[in-house]
Symmetry: C2
Subunit: 419 residues, 2 copies
């Protein structure tokens, strides 16, 4: 046993043991908030339901729900369709949706999307905006965001001061805590002070995060992850990203960089990735990786297609039609996807993996074959295999994830204000 691990030092003073940092006790939400969140999560819940789920006494339930009702956050539901059974019928509670509204926005290179959501988490209106696909200044982006917010407010017949908070998700390296963007493909400048500029311009609190985290939040709040405490979300778009939920919370990593599944190495000295390294998963799976091989496989008609998207579509059609070279491309991409997923399973042991992304429409990628290969590449020693779900959703779902971010901040604030 060497240096660090000896406990008695020479002075005879015990040096102690155990973690030096206290657990983040911020995770212990006050009871009132837990009740509110349970009601919102369930859609509707009776007091008895709250008592059973949260393990509190009947007295507390009465008092705390009364607080929430007085504060205008919850209400009793009148039109209860009488359940069968004897005894006094339970009165359901529900969130009053009109208390607060938030906007969630997903920024992309070719289009931005927005969702306006009420306090119950229901989408009220959506909007989207086509934009030129090139890096912009922060001011330009904010102008586009402003126009988009106008649109979605108009569609929902609300005005700006109805909005309690805004959430924005974008690709790149995003510092969620600081609200800054060290780097993003959408921005021409590095280290943009995004949140500060936004708040100065629109006078609404902004919550900013990486887009893979947004998608993960969407699954945690609205999707298949709601019932799981630990799961991973893998997104295959231009790049390959990942989000992780651990103990019902989004895990953001220690240094705030995204979880870059796309740049894990699956082959020593393998294919060249746009990040400049070799053997990244992305270099076998992303749009540009397929596109550059497509040019070879479809040699004769390569010049017909200029957009990578059209090229991929053509490649897919060819593969379906029996073109051997085209099929090989997809088959290899599928195999590497299997490897990437298997690695995630081995390292995290999640209960569920959700694969998401519009490119999922090329169903080669989520073919049973890929999943079977993934399971084959995973040690399973008698345990139940990790379930995999595939969701091919559009930008609006990402935007809804952004509303979740804003919604949870607004909820914290609204419930804490009761005191």
């Amino acid at each position: 046993m060497s240096g660090d691990l000896s406990t008695k030092n020479d002075s005879g003073i015990p040096s102690g043991c155990g973690p030096l940092l206290p657990l983040g006790n911020a995770n212990t939400k006050p009871m009132r908030q837990q009740i509110f969140e349970h009601v919102r999560a369930a859609g509707r819940a009776t007091r008895t339901d709250v008592i059973r789920t949260l393990g509190i006494s009947a007295g507390s339930a009465t008092a705390l729900t009364a607080d929430l009702i007085n504060a205008g956050l919850l209400r009793e539901v009148d039109s209860v369709p009488r359940e069968t059974g004897r005894g006094r019928p339970a009165v359901a509670l529900e969130v009053i949706p009109e208390t607060n509204f938030v906007i969630g926005i997903k920024l992309s290179d070719e289009a931005h999307s927005a969702v306006l959501t009420d306090f119950a988490g229901d989408a009220v209106a959506t909007a989207s905006l086509q934009t030129p696909a090139h890096p912009k200044s922060l001011d330009e982006i904010l102008t586009e965001v402003g126009a988009l917010m106008q649109d979605v407010l108009a569609a929902a017949q609300k005005n700006p001061n109805n909005i309690a908070a805004v959430g924005i998700g974008m690709s790149g390296i995003v510092d969620h805590q600081a609200g800054t963007v060290p780097w993003s493909p959408l921005l021409a400048t590095r280290n943009s002070d995004f949140a500060a500029k936004f708040e100065a311009r629109f006078s609404v609190p902004l919550h900013l995060d990486n887009d893979a985290n947004m998608l993960t939040l969407a699954e945690l709040w609205f999707g298949a992850g709601r019932a799981k405490s630990d799961f991973a979300v893998v997104t295959i778009e231009q790049g390959v990203g990942m989000g992780l939920v651990i103990d019902n919370r989004l895990y953001r990593g220690a240094r705030g960089m995204g979880l870059e599944l796309g740049h894990t190495k699956v082959q020593l000295d393998g294919a060249l990735c746009r990040c400049g390294q070799r053997g990244c998963l992305e270099a076998y799976l992303a749009d540009y990786a397929l596109a550059r091989e497509a040019a070879t496989a479809l040699h004769q008609q390569a010049n017909d297609h200029h957009s990578p998207n059209a090229l991929l579509t053509a490649l897919f059609t060819q593969a379906k039609a029996g073109n051997e070279a085209a099929q090989t491309i997809f088959r290899r991409a599928g195999r590497y996807l299997s490897v990437g997923l298997a690695n995630v399973v081995q390292l995290f042991d999640p209960a569920l993996i959700i694969i998401s992304g519009e490119r999922m429409q090329y169903d080669y990628l989520y073919a049973d074959e890929v999943l079977a290969e993934m399971h084959r590449l995973t040690l399973n020693d008698g345990r139940s295999a990790c379930t995999v779900e595939t969701h091919a959703w559009g930008d609006l779902v990402w935007a809804r994830g952004a509303t979740a971010l804003a919604l949870s901040a607004v909820t914290d604030q609204a419930v804490a204000a009761i005191s």
Copy 2:
């Protein structure tokens, strides 16, 4: 937007949003316990120190420390070497070590190790036991464990009923919660009801876990991880294992299987692993992987060495002496280690990676070259690089990790008993 993510269903009843499972609120320890753990972590602490660290009022500190002192868990330190400064001198508090004792045990194929630790976390005595290296019945193992506990008790001059709990770490698939062992290389039978049998035989509570988790706990409680909230521990022994600390707590995965870094794939259709698959990291790094190539490299004298350990030592000597083939073996192992570590960094973004294992004595593995390669394989976009530490510690450290497991359970119990 498709099915799952729509929130209003046809009945008009809101379906709700947000995570359905509540956060584990077990993480909110009562103040008394936080104080106790802070004093133990610091070795010694004054009440004022407690006030500042935990952010509680002076009144609470007095009352709660008085409880802990009355309960016989803490005591004031008399011999305070007077610090310079005016005002009433602070009285330091410390844990009374003799309140409770625990034993931590690491089971291996060739030897078992044990540490007897007092309530302050200081090792009182150690013992180890050579054993035949073959799978055994649960009864045989428990007999060996019994003998080992006898030894360590004798060395510490304690008797069995001084022991409040025992922690055991072993390789294989271990269900920590249930206290069962679905599979382990040390046990001849599957699905052993380890903890129940142990407790029936020795009448002491047992806490059982995977050995990689034990090592991670050792780093969290006694080592370099104490000051970090998120870090990873990689262990290279017979296999390649990993442990993960997230938010100051050990992450155990959703299905209770270990985090199997060793079986992540670093090469499609690569080297054959003992798990039967191809391209596992372990197949390039573990003892047996090096040994099987060593036989080729040292062709002439391959027959002289029968133990894999001796073979590796010979290989290492040869490499140092300039044998090209031997050097190639180590160089390749080093490169794949870089890939494995880089993948962990990309997927987890930990603040610190600790590499541990006796095989670390072959310093090729922790050569700066490997770390440099790892950093090269990692996206670093301006952020501070992930630090890597290497620890070449023996089985006793693993055993101390097992004491941490027992210690934390005993602490919970002892502090809760005050009420």
